[in-house]
Symmetry: C2
Subunit: 276 residues, 2 copies
Amino acid sequence: MTRQKRTVFYLSDRTGITAETLGHSLLAQFDGIEWEKINVPFLGDSVKAQVVAEQINRAAERDGHRPLVFSTLLKPDILGVIRQANCRVYDFFETFVSSIEEELHQPFARIAGRSHGLQHRLSYFKRMAAINYVLAHDDGVNPGNFTEADIILMGVSRTGKTPTCLYLALQYGIAAANYPLTQEDMSVIRLPKALEPVRNELFGLTLGATQLHFIRQERRPDSQYASLAQCQREIQWQESLFQLFRIPYLDTTYISIEEISAIILDRSGLKRQLYG
Amino acid sequence: MTRQKRTVFYLSDRTGITAETLGHSLLAQFDGIEWEKINVPFLGDSVKAQVVAEQINRAAERDGHRPLVFSTLLKPDILGVIRQANCRVYDFFETFVSSIEEELHQPFARIAGRSHGLQHRLSYFKRMAAINYVLAHDDGVNPGNFTEADIILMGVSRTGKTPTCLYLALQYGIAAANYPLTQEDMSVIRLPKALEPVRNELFGLTLGATQLHFIRQERRPDSQYASLAQCQREIQWQESLFQLFRIPYLDTTYISIEEISAIILDRSGLKRQLYG
């Protein structure tokens, strides 16, 4: 069975992040379609809109199906140009606006750049402080400052500690440190000394040994470090450690960094420092 | 005039990222309301839903207005419990699903965790490679490898190079290096030697001197480095450099990291490596 090919356009006055996030969530629930995704951010004038409309018509002809268009465009005249093209428009704002206006007894301001603009700018310092903290405390560096961390992720090499710390900082303004468990730690089941004072802030990351083997193979093919037996030993050891010291931990084998971060936040009860 | 206080709930089977993105984009367009934002991710059973329903009722009583609820819940029975509470529900999936089903001639799969799950997992290696590249080439480190970069951000200290590089890597899988322009470079208007071989990959970040002064004050209060005069000199010098060497550049004074990244992508014509 050949997969159906279709095109989706994400149109926005600004970054297109909202249109993409929403469209992607919907389309992820439909199977067997190969999507050509076209993001058009900063779509600010009707001349550019005319070019996009023609692009939509060409895609419709090529695919044999009209494209889907997800829009967060705020200017009705620009969306008007797009609606002339052969496509199905899903307009995220118009769909909800009148009902929310009614609920809040207020008009929709229709000013571009609000959702990823000023509010993020105001939280610039919190975000920067969190990023700087992560960079200064990656991979077990400066454990003397771990008491300042909101959370400390721990796990053996390649369990996703660094990207998760970076995501927690960028998305939520959380100061996350991370501590790599090493061969040296593995001689006994004991909490590394550096982690004793921050026992309540620890959170473990684990994953299936086969997946870890696969990831390490990319880094150092056919090494002792990457061998399945070594991965099994390390995972088994670290999970025993987490259990013995009652450190909350998460198996990340099937989940993304976004999900890992949201779960850590949920389970640890940490308060996010940035919102929206 | 006192600001109206209201509560918004973001309910989701998984991370809540989609529900929050939708709600935040919409609510950012209404002024003068102070929002209490409550994110409830991983809302998987009706017992937990009952607890949330009670929380909604208490908020309604406290605020004197019923809360708004943005939902991406996939299970109708859980949403059913919420609908019993005193609130106005905006259900993202139900709003669009039947029309998209009709358009695609396919049923909505209704499987949780798809939008931030598997697809991101599949791009794990691209994302990790980009993050590792950024960490290994932050702040002008290893300029010998700059030819491997997708893009090289340049600017004086505190112009947002590092967080932008990290965001480009996490969100788009782009390998971004950054090069700090220093006092040493400033003796003449000349491209630093390390950047000559990668001239076509350069992108400048600048901002208003007053804003730079403000940011540097946080870091080293009342230093020569943070003085307004010094900031003015550095900004003026770097903008002359960008213009002379026709390096595209962006004034980031009023925009967020999300917007800076989207604009860089748009202007440089770089192809993103991750999608959705």
